[in-house]
Amino acid sequence: MVDNLPFLLNGFAMTLGYAAGALVFAMLLGGLLGTVDYAVHLWPVRWAIRGFVGLFRNTPFIVQLYIWFFGLPYAGVQLSAPVAGILGLGLYGASYVTEIVRASLASVGREQEEAGLSLGLGHRDVIARVVWPQAFAGMVPGLTNEAVALIKNTSMLGFITITELTLRTQQAISSTFASLPLYLTAGAMYLIVNVLLTLLARRLEKTLARGGRGSALNLGSRTEVPVHV
C-alpha cells in the first residue's frame, strides 16, 4: 500500500495538471461564449452558442471523449491523448460555464445596462465595467460546482490512456489486489482537493459580498447553492 503511494501521487499530479488545463480552457471559452450570448443580439450568433451548449450538455462526457480520441481518426484526424483529454474536458465544462455566465450577467438586470448606456458609455464598456463586476459574485457558486465536477470527470481520462489517478489506482490494484485501501486512498485525494477548492470559493464569495460587489444580487440565497464534494 505505502509502496504504491508514489505511484498514486504521480497519477494525482497528472489529474491536477489536466484539471487545471481544462479548467482554464473551460472558464475562458465559457466566459467568452456566455458574455457574447448575453451581449450580442444577433440570431446566428445566439443559435450557434445555444447549439454548442445544447449539444455538449445533453450528451455523456464519456461519449464526447471517445469521439475526440477514437472517433476522429475515422475522419482522418488523430488527436494525441493529452490534446483530446484537455479539449474534451474543456469543451464539456465550457458548455456549463457558458450558461452560468450568461444567467449571472442577465440577473444584473437591463436597468443597470440602460443606466450605463444612457450615460453615453459604449456597449462593451457597459458589459465590462457595469454588468460583469456585479455579476461575478453571483457566478462563484456555480463555477465552483463546475470546477468540482470537472476535477471528478478527469477520472474518465484513463479510458483514453492518460495515466491519471483513477487509472493509476486500477493499475496498482491489478498488481497488489488491495482494492479497497487503494480506492479509498484515491477517493481521499479527490476529496481533499475538492473540499479545499470549495472552501476557497466560499471565502472568495464572502470577500466579494463584503466588498459590496454584486449588491444588486441576492447573495444570501445564492450561497445556499449546494456544492457536492
Partner: protein
C-alpha cells in the same frame, strides 16, 4: 444669443420635429414637436401611459423613433452615434440604477473617465464638486446600498449632470421615493434649473412641474395637447386638461398658479 434671460432670440438647444414612435403596430408617440431654449426647463405632464417616458427614452435613443427628427444645437442627431448622442442628452430614470459595485464617487467618475476621457484626478475632482452640489459632500465613499433613496437619486442626477450634457432629461426622478425624500431631490432639480442647465423634466408632481419649468407640456395618448407657460397650461379651458389638473392639484388651492408665475 445664448443668454437664458433673453426673449425670442435665445438659442434653441433641442428641437424636436414631428417625432413619431411605434412598436409592433402600436403608436406610442404621435407628431410630437417642441423646442427647448438653452438654459430653460420644460416640464412634461400627463396621465400614465401618455408617452412621457417614451419621449425621453427616444431623445436618449434607448428607443428608436419611427419618423421625425431631433436637432441638437441646430444639428440633426441621426448621424450621431448613440454613445455620443447620449453623453450630450443625458437621462436620469425613476429607478436611479446606481452601479452597485461602485461607491458614490466612482458612480460619477465612470462616465467622466469613459466618455469625457478625463484623467483620474480630474474626474475625481469634478465628481466631488458635483456630489457637493447635490448636497452629498462627505458621502463619496458610500456604496449605493448605504445611501437612502433620495441620496441615491441625487447621486444619479450628479452622475448624469457631471458630464455637462447639452440637455438633461429627468424621468419621474421622485416617483420611486418615499414622500419625505421627494423634496430634497426636487430642490436639486430646482438648483440645476436655476443654474442654467437645459432640462426636460417628466413628473407627476404638478406643483413641482409648474414651479421648475419655463414651459409646460401636457401629453395625452402620445400627443402633445397643451404647451405654454405653466400658469397658462394650468388655466387651460380644455375640459380634459382641467379634469387632469383638478385631480392632481386637489388640496393645493389657488397657490399653484402664483407659484407658476413666480418662476
Amino acid at each position: 444669443m445664448s443668454d437664458s434671460s433673453g426673449h425670442g432670440s435665445a438659442e434653441v438647444v433641442l428641437d424636436v420635429r414631428n417625432m413619431e414612435m411605434s412598436v409592433g403596430g402600436t403608436t406610442i408617440l404621435i407628431d410630437v414637436s417642441f423646442q427647448l431654449e438653452r438654459g430653460r426647463t420644460i416640464s412634461v405632464v400627463g396621465p400614465s401611459g401618455s408617452g412621457k417616458s417614451t419621449l425621453l427614452r427616444c431623445l436618449n435613443r434607448l428607443e428608436r423613433i419611427s419618423s421625425g427628427s431631433v436637432l441638437l444645437g441646430g444639428v440633426h442627431t441621426d448621424a450621431l452615434p448613440a454613445p455620443a448622442l447620449r453623453s450630450r442628452i443625458g437621462l436620469v430614470s425613476q429607478k436611479f440604477a446606481l452601479f452597485g459595485h461602485l461607491d458614490a464617487l466612482a458612480n460619477v467618475t465612470l462616465g467622466l473617465r469613459r466618455t469625457r476621457h478625463l484623467s483620474k484626478p480630474a474626474a475625481d475632482e469634478q465628481a466631488r464638486e458635483w456630489l457637493n452640489r447635490v448636497g452629498l459632500a462627505g458621502l463619496e465613499k458610500r456604496r449605493p446600498h448605504e445611501l437612502s433613496g433620495g441620496q441615491q437619486q441625487r447621486v444619479a442626477i450628479a452622475r448624469a449632470a457631471a458630464l455637462e450634457p447639452d440637455v438633461l432629461l429627468l424621468d419621474e426622478v421622485t416617483s420611486a421615493l418615499d414622500p419625505e425624500l421627494v423634496e430634497e431631490v426636487e430642490n436639486v432639480v430646482l438648483g440645476l434649473a436655476r443654474s442654467g442647465t437645459s432640462l426636460v423634466v417628466v413628473t407627476h408632481e404638478i406643483p413641482f412641474a409648474a414651479k421648475v419649468a419655463d414651459i409646460m407640456l401636457m401629453m395625452e395618448a402620445g400627443q402633445v395637447v397643451e404647451t405654454g407657460p405653466p400658469q397658462d397650461v394650468l388655466a387651460s379651458s380644455r375640459p380634459r386638461s382641467q379634469r387632469f389638473f383638478a385631480r392632481h392639484l386637489r388640496g393645493w388651492g389657488d397657490s399653484i398658479t402664483s407659484v407658476g408665475s413666480a418662476g
